[in-house]
Amino acid sequence: MKRSEKLAYLSLASVLCALAGAGAASAADKYVVGVSNTLIGNGWREEMICSIKAQAEASGIVSKVVVANRNGGPAEQIADLRNLISAGVNAIIVNPSDREALNPVIKQAATKGIVVVAVDQAVSAPEAYVLTNDQVAYGKVGATWLFEHLKGKGNVVEMRGIDGVPADADRHQGFTEALKNYPDIKVVASTFTGWALNKGAQQMKDLLASGKEIDGVWTSGIDSVVVDAFKTAQKSYVPVVGADNNGFVGQLINLKGDGFSGAAVTNPPSVGGAGLAVALDVLQKKDHPHLIKITPEVWDNTTDANLENLKKVYDAKLDPFYSIDFEVKPYTTYTMPQILACKGP
């Protein structure tokens, strides 16, 4: 009797020990993550890398984030990816410079058991996980909000990004799809801002000076300077669709009293952090689909409730072009201070 009791205790203790041991092992079992980016000095891309570092920190199971970051094309990115493979990373988050060119090296990574997640833009390699913002939807939901807000009638301006860039083409496609449903909306001007502030501002000033009747403006993210142009020209505000830039969101809040209405469409750079979350899940044998599209949200300032939401994310201390849509639910788990700190484990 006593002996069996003793045995039971012993076995219980050994089970506990084993559990504790397993716990210790899994804590030591941390992952190294590689990041490959080929556009430096770009605010959105920097924020994307920060979100990866923040998610690595928040996850608690990443020991190191190795960043390969330089200006380059597919040839440079292939070299960087090969080096990351050699550096012994367990996962690679890549913002690809080309859809096809990286496929052989992604395949090599996959055969070594490395999980590759392409964020922001897609790759066609079947081994990779792809997590992108849905740019067609980006164009569509913003345009639909604008046309709805104009009650389906009026003159609008479409201010696009860079000609020939996939994201611009996709957004334009979404814009055009939305336009089909509103036969009384007329596009009176379409410009390419090149996603440059000064160019976008000048184009808006020229349009206002031209005397064209403008009832609404859709922009591909060069937003706050367009609103400023109305102020400079001393014209009354018309509805403007912009992106989730801090400055524009500030205008949505602060200029509401002056009769300004508008909507920010989200294009979160935190796809980077979300990509890491997916990679870590896959490393821990949790399944994800290979193609994940993040649907943009529309944040407008027309109702009090929406205005409250805008006030929650707006931070007057941040740069006007900081993308304040800092998380992608349900993937990212870090906090705003963590992404602002931009420090990995």
Partner: protein
């Protein structure tokens, strides 16, 4: 070409600078040690660059002991296009010129290859490659012709033709795409495998690099053409007075520049498998950086081919080491710039010591 430290070749390489000391050399037969010493002093790049490469490789292996065949291949693949850009610039700079259109020339042959080879067989791809090489030489000849005929400074001419060829690349292929047959890509991305020998340790990219430099440069260097290129780069007026056809030689230098650029463009096609109209952008300036590190004097007439090619390997190893060491990659630019300044300073210091002797 560097294995033969012949006296006459050493003085050739130094152009006019060694003329004063050349006659006494012919009389006395100095000891091998003294000759070696003099060779090293005269050709700091030829001795220093391989030494520097060995050093950096040693550091790389130290920080990354797992350095293996895969990494050697990464190095060769990464360095191949840059080495070709550096080789192209070297020939032109040796002749006393400069070519700022190299990146665009590479882009043109890159997109030409990717757009024409997509559905080609291996043999057809090889034929197309030859045609693209000829096209590259013609483009280089055009550069040279405009420089010589217009008498506009070469910086301005090649900057302008660079924009033009960049535009042509966009016209051929407006966005990245195209392709090439697997066998053609394998010329760079594979490893040595013949009937009697297969080794993962010998990347095809390295073989391609060495053979294309040797095949183009050795015949030039060993014949009058090379001597003339060095001569006009060293002192154009003296060369002219000695009866050198300066204008034709200048054009020839641009032709070889165009040819190397075209090889670089083909290398981009082989390593990426696609054509990208903007892919050449980075190579004009990094090629220049490589030749400066490689000991080629930007004023012309001094330097060789080995230095720039090794410099291309070094410049490829730097980002690799930064990844292994997990250092903020933005330091890569700082390190590259520092390296250039240091090498130029050491070179200047060596020249200063030499002039005091």
């Amino acid at each position: 070409m560097t294995a033969a430290p012949g006296k006459s070749r050493a003085s050739e390489r130094n152009g006019g600078a060694s003329d004063a000391s050349a006659p006494p050399e012919a009389d006395q037969r100095p000891s091998i040690a003294a000759r070696l010493h003099r060779f090293m002093r005269r050709n700091p790049a030829l001795v220093g660059m391989p030494a520097l490469l060995v050093l950096v490789l040693a550091v790389t292996i130290l920080v990354h002991p797992e350095f293996g065949a895969f990494d050697l291949q990464s190095l060769a693949l990464g360095a191949l296009p840059l080495a070709m850009a550096a080789a192209a610039q070297t020939v032109v700079v040796l002749s006393g010129g400069i070519d700022l259109s190299i990146g665009s020339l590479m882009a043109v042959s890159n997109v030409l290859a990717a757009s024409t080879m997509q559905h080609a067989s291996y043999q057809e791809a090889l034929l197309l490659a030859v045609l693209i090489l000829i096209a590259g030489a013609v483009q280089g000849a055009l550069n040279g012709l405009i420089v010589v005929l217009s008498r506009i400074p070469d910086v301005v001419v090649t900057l302008t033709t660079g924009f033009i060829w960049g535009g042509v690349a966009l016209l051929i292929l407006e966005k990245p795409g195209g392709g090439a047959p697997e066998g053609f890509l394998n010329l760079a991305t594979g490893t040595l495998c013949t009937d009697w020998l297969c080794s993962a340790w010998v990347p095809n990219a390295l073989i391609l690099l060495v053979t294309s430099v040797l095949l183009v440069w050795l015949p030039v260097r060993r014949t009058r053409i090379g001597l003339l290129i060095y001569a006009i780069g060293s002192d154009r007026i003296a060369a002219f007075r000695s009866g050198v056809n300066v204008e034709l030689t200048r054009i020839l230098a641009y032709v070889f520049g165009g040819l190397f650029s075209a090889i670089g463009g083909l290398a981009l096609t082989m390593t990426t498998g696609i054509g990208a109209p903007l892919a050449g952008t980075y190579y004009t300036l990094s090629g220049l950086a490589a030749i400066v590190i490689g000991g080629v004097s930007l004023t012309g007439g001094r330097g060789g081919m080995l230095g720039p090619v090794i410099a291309a390997l070094l410049l490829t190893l730097i980002p690799t080491d930064l990844i292994y060491l997990d250092i903020d990659p933005n330091y890569g630019q700082v390190i590259q710039g520092t390296l250039i300044v240091l090498v130029v300073m050491i070179g200047g210091f060596a020249a200063f010591l030499q002039s005091r002797k």
